[in-house]
Symmetry: C2
Subunit: 351 residues, 2 copies
């Protein structure tokens, strides 16, 4: 078993840069394990890594990975990974063999609680080969017991779940607060609705495509849903929330930015961890200062938060939502399907 099937991104570009290949498995370092991948959930970061969609803070349209610099190609994408440990490095105890695990999605030198903000943060599927493959190598101590026996359901937890959890911690959401979740049907959004409502006790307004999703969103814990295709969206949200939004959790970006700031109460908090509709937006600085707003950026999260998240999933407070699965070899179709953004929950590859 020295080779495997995998998709490699061979350079910044379109789907033609996502190439299905037979590649060699690298050897294990002493503190690493080999994980047979059962499921890899898709994220926008998979696609933006291929497209070089991150720009730099000096040039917004520069092709760059999420560290806002180049990527070492070829690179196997995929960051949200669940699987089984099938081989261990020389210093890893044998007892972890055959454990079902989810992979904490990055390495860094940062100390606990700040590891996600370290300058040297390196992300699986970007700085390391990731989950669009049959196998992946990862540090043993970054492999956590999968909280669900269904590994397809466990796969979205490391990136989508952790991202949502950290956004909520960033916003310091308190019990009873009114929280608007933009893009509530997406991967991060469907976690955010559940975590904010079921773990932190918030009243969640879920922003959805249309009211057909109302029942499902309420099952997840939402207090109310609002359809975003409205000519009076600010009024609709204000009415649903009785006028007071404490926190907006956003991964939508430009399309919802001015609406988000308009519905927030004075002193309210907007947290972003993504911008699928558009990365450049107009900010009225008067709105920021006259309303005493907090605009907070958030990416991934900490190991402590990951522990808390895994426990919440085990306890049944948070349930990863799967929209559709694809076999590994259909990764291109999966990315195309994902980009249409019509799904409720995650798209998952099954190697």
């Amino acid at each position: 078993m020295n080779t495997m099937k995998a998709f490699q991104v061979t350079g910044f570009g379109g789907l033609d840069k996502l190439e299905y290949k037979t590649v060699e498995l690298p050897s294990l370092e002493k503190d690493e394990v080999l994980v047979k991948i059962h499921a890899t959930a898709l994220n926008n970061s998979d696609i933006w890594m291929r497209e070089g969609g991150y720009g730099t803070d000096r040039s917004s349209d520069a092709a760059a990975g999420w560290r806002r610099e180049g990527i070492q190609f070829p690179r196997i994408p995929g960051s949200d990974i669940a699987g089984e440990i099938v081989k261990v490095g020389s210093e890893v105890e044998d007892k972890v063999l055959h454990k079902k695990v989810v992979l904490f999605p990055f390495q860094s030198s940062g100390k606990v609680g700040h590891e996600h903000m370290s300058e040297d943060i390196a992300y699986i599927g970007s700085e390391f080969d990731g989950g669009y493959a049959e196998y992946v190598i990862w540090k043993a101590d970054l492999c956590y017991d999968a909280p669900l026996t269904n590994l397809s359901e466990s796969a979205p937890i490391p990136v989508s779940g952790l991202t949502a959890w950290h956004m909520i911690k960033r916003a310091n959401i308190q019990k009873g607060e009114m929280v608007l979740v933009n893009g509530a049907t997406g991967g991060v959004g469907s976690f955010a609705v559940q975590i904010a409502a079921n773990v932190f006790g918030a009243k969640v307004i879920a922003l959805v495509r249309d009211q057909s999703l109302d029942k499902k969103m309420k099952e997840l814990g939402a207090y109310k849903t609002v359809a975003y295709k409205s000519h009076q969206l600010v009024e609709d949200i204000t009415k649903a929330s009785d006028g007071q939004i404490d926190v907006v959790l956003d991964v939508v970006g430009d399309a919802m930015f001015s609406t988000s700031l308009a519905v927030l109460k004075k002193g309210g908090t907007f947290v972003t961890s993504g911008a699928s509709s558009g990365v450049l937006t107009e900010l009225d600085l008067r709105t920021l200062y006259l309303k005493h707003l907090n605009l907070l950026g958030s990416t991934l999260g900490t190991k402590e938060e990951f522990d808390d998240l895994l426990k919440a999933v085990q306890d049944g407070l948070v349930k990863p939502i799967i929209d559709k699965t694809f076999p590994l070899e259909k990764a291109k179709e999966a990315q195309s399907y994902f980009k249409e953004s019509k799904q409720l929950g995650k798209v998952v590859l099954l190697p």
Copy 2:
């Protein structure tokens, strides 16, 4: 003494809307005092109130006051006021007569520590008649002992000083942190440099027009100065700060926005309380979330902070800087001079 000379703003518009008149003094309510004005410091808010420069969060170019709604004209502008109590309402003790005071600049129903974020906040010089006059009426319990015998120097404390203090509290600046102050020579900026450096122990990089201001800024407490007219401003700031800006304090707005975000370290904080160079700016949401930034809006401050500020002035840690004084009747010339933004410190009217 039933009349006084005063400037009234008679509607949103140019300097022709600032009219010098003889107006009647209103009668005192039982909890109010009459203050003979010795000095009123100018602020951008005086000018924006006349110009209707605040827009609304739905229409950025709508003519509006700072509450983002209409102003009841005619209105006497001026918010940064120092003077002497010369008459008291029926329930105010006589012993306050002839006290030299500075006026806490707003009223609101908000509880202590949140009074500046109350929905019903009403600002002197906007919702109440203000300081472009010989006299002003204000609540007795919002008149604080002037910390300096020179009332011209005391005048800028309530708005400019409090604004700077609250920005620094918002940013939670810690000893030894590297703080960039944009517009360091302005009214808020020259307070911010001193408060951040001398009260909170920060290393302050003062952004100035040119290096001729270096000596003066270092006297105020700045660690280094950087001239903003540079083709490589990000590099200049990065070099001066050894690459790590923890906090940016800004009242400049659009012209410094992208530079501010570029020089901040991961997890850094940008605080704005004004936007003299431009209120609309482009925000790259990726920069916000990938750098885990905090963009915080700030307006005015709390009574507790005002107490702390007055003490810091008394203790000599913070000294209001006066650029130029004008007699009251030259208020139009004073506003024109102020708008040129060439000054170091405050412009003050002397009725």
